[in-house]
Structures are given as C-alpha cells and as structure tokens.
Amino acid sequence: MDAMQWLYSDIVLDHFKNPRNVYDPDEKFAYDAEGTVGNVKCGDQMMFMLKIGEDDVIRDVRWRTYGCASAIASTSMLSAVTKGLHIREAYNLKPEDIATRLGGLPDNKIHCSVLGDKALRAAIDEWLEKTGRAGLYRNEGATVICTCLNITDRDIETAVREGARNWEQLQERTKIGTVCGGCKVKGEALLHEYVHIFGEE
C-alpha cells in the first residue's frame, strides 16, 4: 500500500504489520517482571513482560495488548528500543521519543502510545519491588505541574494509582492547585489520562 494512502507514517505501518517482540502464547516466555495497565472497558489494555539480568539490563521483552493500531505500533517500537537498555534508561524513555521514532502520530493517538510506556514502567517497578528497591526511579524525569507546591506528573500518576479518581481526591492526596490554582487545566488533563490508564471500574 502506498504510504501516502495510509493513516499513519510508513514506520507505523511497518510496526503494525510486523509487530516486534509480540507475545506468542505458544512460546512460554519466562519473564522476571510484568506490568499491566489500561482497561478493556476503556478500549485499551497493555501488558509488558521483561527478562532482566542481575546487572539490571533488560535481556528480552514481550508485550501483548488489547489495543488499536497506534498502540500496537508504538509498543512494538518501544519493545525494540528497550531491549539491551539498563532499567533506569528504559524507565526514563519518553512516549514522545517513541512517537518521533515512529515518524509521528496524530495528536489524538499520542494517548495510545503512552500505554506501552506506562506498562513498561509498571514492569520495572515490579522488578524493583521484587529486588527490594521499591519506587527507586519514581521521581526521575518528572515534570513539575503545580509550580506553587512543586507537584509533578509522577505525583499525579502515583495518586491515581493509589485511588484518586477526581480533582478533589487528587487534591486531598497531593494538595495540587490549592495555592494559585493555575495548574488546574493541565492537572485535570493528566488526571483524566491516568484514570483512563490505571483506573479500573
């Protein structure tokens, strides 16, 4: 098919047609850590499986998804990039980097590529927990959202993973936006995104 006729870039098309490192149920892939995020009710779910060496280097990865073409392609790309990385580097990969490597994604599809990234980090978090280093990287690479109280996107993510489902609950946990309130629009957008990814019914 002519790339010009395709909805996404030809790199996305390639990864969609031939997803790398996708889990094969017959393979019996043995993994050291696993992370699952998203919810089928919300239309997408992602699971990342990691085989990790004692040196914290990712030896091999598999992933599976109930998700759209963008989720499949971006997670395929992410999995290819992840292999051979130290878990700390992998933890700090940005979804935007993956989107760039894919030759760009439409704005309304960026969300789909975030899912793979979150599943990867959930898997690394599980590995860190298993090896007695829970939460080691949680605040690395974070972006400050509420400048008054120095609250980051990672803080919002953590609050949602611990149960916050609306702005009031998020404020109870983090105090975000309780001084000048200027971060509310950005904070609510992130809250919405994280509830979609982590919030089960």
Binding site: K17, T65, Y66, C68
Partner: protein, 389 residues
C-alpha cells in the same frame, strides 16, 4: 486469493450510480438560477420539480410540494429541531422524546434543546436495538411536542416500529419525525401511510450525490427555516438551488425504487452468507442488532478480545473497507453509543465491526472477506491481554 478492494461501508456512503453520474455530467452546463423567470431559469426549475416528484415517491407521499430540498440529512434533522425550538419558546408543549440510538445529529440537536431548557427524553432500547414501547407509552404524554425515532439504525441496522410509535404520538397530539436516511433505498419508506409529520432523506446513501437531502414536511405541520434568505422552497429553506445535485438526487430516488424488493433480497442473501460464514469460521463472536427486523444490507459483529480499530486497519490492509464502533477510531474515549444502549457492554462495543453491503457487492467479495477476516481476528486475539474461551 488475489487481493481485491471490497467496499462494505455503504451505510457510510454509496458510490454514484453510473446513470446518476452521467445525468449530472450532462447537466453541468445548466447554470441558470432555478429561481430566475427567464427561459433558462424556468428550464432549470423544471428539472428541480421533476426531481421533487421522484423524491416524493421515495418518501411515499403523493404531493411533491411537501418535499423541501436541503443540503443533506443533518440539515433536515436540524431543521426539525430548530422548528421545535421556535415552537417551544412560544409556550405550551416543550417535551422532546427521542431515542438513545439516534444518529449523532439528532442526539446533539436534542441535547441542544435540553441545554436550552426543554425537557428531553432519550428512550431506551432492548438488546436488539428496538425502542422500549412501554417506556415510549409512559414518556409520550400531553406535554410532548415532538417524538423523533429513526426508521432504521445506521450502525446495527435495526428497524423501528415507526407506525406504532407515530400512532402513540398522534394519540397525545404530538408531532412525529423519523430519520429515514438509512431506510430509503433499502426498504420501503411510507411517510404518508405511517402518518409522520416530518421525514428525513439523504441522496448520498442511495447512490446519489453528497450535499443534497430532503425533508418531507406534512402539509400543515409547522416548519421554521434553518437558513433564512430568499423565497426558495416556499420560504422553508433559502439558498440558490443546487440544481445539478437535486437532479442527481431525483434520478437516484427513481432508481432506488426500481426493483427495490429484488435488490434487497439479493443483498440480504449475501449479508446472511457473510454473517453465517463469520459465525462458523470465527469462534466466540456476537452478532449485534435484531435478527429479523434489520436492514437487508447491514451486519454488525463484535469480536471479543480484538480491538475494533486494529481489526478495521488490518482489514484495510487487505483491501476490505468497513467501519467500527471502537472509541479509538472515533478519537473519543467512548465506544458506540448505539451498542452501549443495547447493553452489549464497552468491551464488546470496542471490538465491533459494521459490514454494510450494497449494489456493487458480489459473492466473491463475501468469499474474500470470509477468507481474510478469520486470521486477523485470530492474530489479534493471540496478542491480546483478553483471553477468549
């Protein structure tokens, strides 16, 4: 099997009928304003009126003067709701009763009236997509201004009992509108026999051009123009006549009624073969919509464990063009409101595919889809986080 292009998205739009295309092309030089009094204008007007007579037949009404040409189904529907806005503001009845499975243009027009303070009720439907008649009996009351129920649903093809619902509305003195955009050209449309006040039609769903539609307005039913201006359409719809589009609509309407039953029967046979073939070859699927009260060309299937947009795009790579109720394809987080209203649950709605067949569909097309679809579902299910029995 050799790759082929299989268009199975006729409910989204249809190709121009070759005779319609030829007639429109032949008339491209007819430029006169159909409102002009001179000879050229009168000639253009004569074509518009001939088309009006054909569209009246498609709507099932004897009087062509009751047909108002518009820019399409959305404008026709919006004209009805705008009329209700003007009527309701004058006092008296204000309640709007419609359904949870209408086309977005009706849902959004009704929601606009709700925001303007009108009481609006979206009637529930059963698992097959048929309007809950008990709820309709309860909700259609002496305060009801308008009841609007689509003749057939665009996503699942379920046909509603418009005559019965119209009788209910009339018994309470309410106006009745039906959006027949999907029914026309597929099953008989009988605006006069059903007794409706308003009926919406669109040309591009019946192998006519895009940008043309019609609203049947029963003589005596109130109507306020959505577009104000000149005296066209008895002042009901201003704007210079789209005479070539209207000409195409008129011919498409005539062709749509030629051997309607025979064409529907041929398409129904292929649709049923596609449905039975999918059920036979793909384990654990759910066919959505009504088993018998369904448009002859429409098949909506949910594939648990596989996401709709991914199915659609893998099919697209094979040349098969369909649509999905998945949220991912619409750019929103909510899957099909129609499927949710039938109670299938978001998991099944996200994994739904609509196949809509039409006049150019062949048996080979059906065979091809039955060959390429099962491996796609199998592949997506193997990579899915959702396990299917």
């Amino acid at each position: 099997m050799e790759r082929r292009i299989v268009y199975m998205d006729y409910n989204a739009t249809t190709p121009l009928h070759p005779l319609v295309r030829d007639a429109m092309a032949a008339d491209l030089g007819v430029f006169a304003n159909a409102s002009s009094m001179h000879e050229a204008g009168r000639a253009a007007k004569a074509r518009v009126d001939a088309a009006r007579a054909e569209v009246a037949k498609l709507a099932g009404v004897p009087n062509p003067d009751e047909i108002v040409f518009t820019s399409g189904g959305s404008e026709s529907n919006n004209t009805v709701f705008a009329t209700m806005f003007h009527l309701g503001r004058k006092g008296g009845r204000r309640k709007i009763v419609t359904t949870a499975i209408e086309h977005p243009c009706v849902i959004n027009a009704a929601s606009w009236l709700r925001d303007e303070g009108f009481p609006v009720v979206f009637l529930p439907v059963d698992a097959s997509g048929r309007v809950d008649m008990e709820a309709a009996e309860r909700e259609i009351d002496g305060d009801t201004l308008l009841v609007s129920v689509m003749s057939a649903n665009n996503e699942i093809g379920t046909m509603e009992d418009v005559p019965a619902l119209c009788r209910m509305a009339k018994a309470k003195g309410a106006l009745f509108h039906t959006d027949a955009t999907q029914s026309a050209g597929k099953v008989p449309v009988e605006a006069a026999a059903w007794g409706v006040d308003y009926l919406t039609l669109s040309a591009h769903k019946i192998y006519g051009p895009k940008g043309v539609g019609a609203l049947y307005v029963r003589k005596g039913a109130p109507i306020e123009p959505l577009i104000r201006g000149g005296h066209q359409e008895h002042g009901h719809r201003a704007g210079t006549y789209n005479n070539i589009g209207i000409l195409g609509f008129g011919l498409a309407a005539r062709l749509a009624l030629e051997d309607l039953e025979g064409r529907a029967a041929r398409i129904r046979v292929m649709r049923n073969r596609l449905r039975d073939g999918i059920v036979e070859r793909v384990p654990d699927v759910r066919v959505n919509g009504h088993a018998t009260e369904v448009l002859p060309n429409t098949l909506n299937v949910s594939f648990p464990g596989a996401e709709g947009e991914a199915i659609l795009l893998y099919l697209d790579l094979e040349g098969v063009q369909v649509s999905t109720g998945s949220a991912c394809a619409s750019g929103s987080l909510e899957p099909s409101h129609v499927l949710l209203a039938t109670g299938v649950g978001p998991e099944l709605a996200h994994g739904s595919i609509r196949f809509s067949l039409g006049s150019l569909t062949t048996g080979e097309d059906v065979d091809y889809v039955l060959e390429v679809l099962p491996p796609i579902i199998k592949r997506l299910r193997r990579m899915s986080t959702v396990s299917v029995a």
